[in-house]
Symmetry: C2
């Protein structure tokens, strides 16, 4: 631990992420979703239609890896694949009404778990944490890595 | 995204961790350390002596996986292995003076990268973020997972 008494950010964040993911698993199980399935639904809920390749990239998955996930979600009527009007060889994905409902219900339960966890923090720290996280998590990755070499004066 | 306009915590934290780890790599390279090597040095800097098994567990590594890492650090004079006074079949690890210096220098450079990143946040959010992180990262894992099933009333 450094002089200011805190551990490295990655060293503090990584176990928290692992614990959150572990806490999400039983919740997703209850909704019949895998972690990848939930990631797909969430991505489509945020940006309605896109190709399989674009979707895979946005969730950090291998394109071939998620084909089975997409097949399963489609069979269960949670998403649909339609020909791209601009290029009929390409198919675009979108959520069905059921898909939107299942994704929302799972996310609501995850949110409950998170709020119980966040309730352990003083209100001001909780707000600061969420505001900071929103800024830091949406920085382009190069903004973090690039600054190592060329910090502000 | 849920009604309150934020993404799931894990979905915000995971890319941040990946970006931080990617930003640490070139810094560790400059200090001649791998990510595992740095993890070992950090763990020993925090809790001076321990067995290989205890060390491996504390950094989330497989016991056999880190043997090569330990060999390398020892050859470079950054750590030493001594027989456990309580059980001479067991060897305990500790940092050498050089090991402490290299670890501290690498951590200082990582801290600079982190501070540049954190400087993008308003001061109050930065303090709240770090305070929250300290609390959340040190919760026993069961405290997070357990609360999924038995939330507070």
């Amino acid at each position: 631990m450094a002089d200011d008494g805190r551990a490295d950010l990655a060293a503090m964040l990584a176990p928290l992420v692992r614990a959150l993911v572990a806490a999400e698993r039983p919740i997703l199980d209850e909704h019949g979703l895998t972690m990848w399935g939930y990631s797909v639904l969430l991505a489509l809920a945020e940006q309605p239609t896109r190709t399989q390749a674009a979707l895979a990239e946005s969730i950090g998955a291998d394109k071939t890896r998620i084909i089975g996930v997409l097949d399963d979600l489609q069979e269960r009527g949670l998403l649909q694949r339609d020909p791209d009007p601009n290029d009929r060889r390409v198919r675009v994905l979108s959520l069905t009404e059921d898909g939107r409902r299942v994704c929302g219900a799972a996310q609501a339960d995850i949110r409950k778990m998170e709020e119980t966890l966040l309730a352990r923090l003083p209100a001001a720290d909780r707000r600061g944490f969420l505001r900071a996280l929103r800024v830091l998590s949406t920085l382009p990755r190069g903004e973090i890595i690039g600054r190592v070499r060329t910090p502000d004066p």
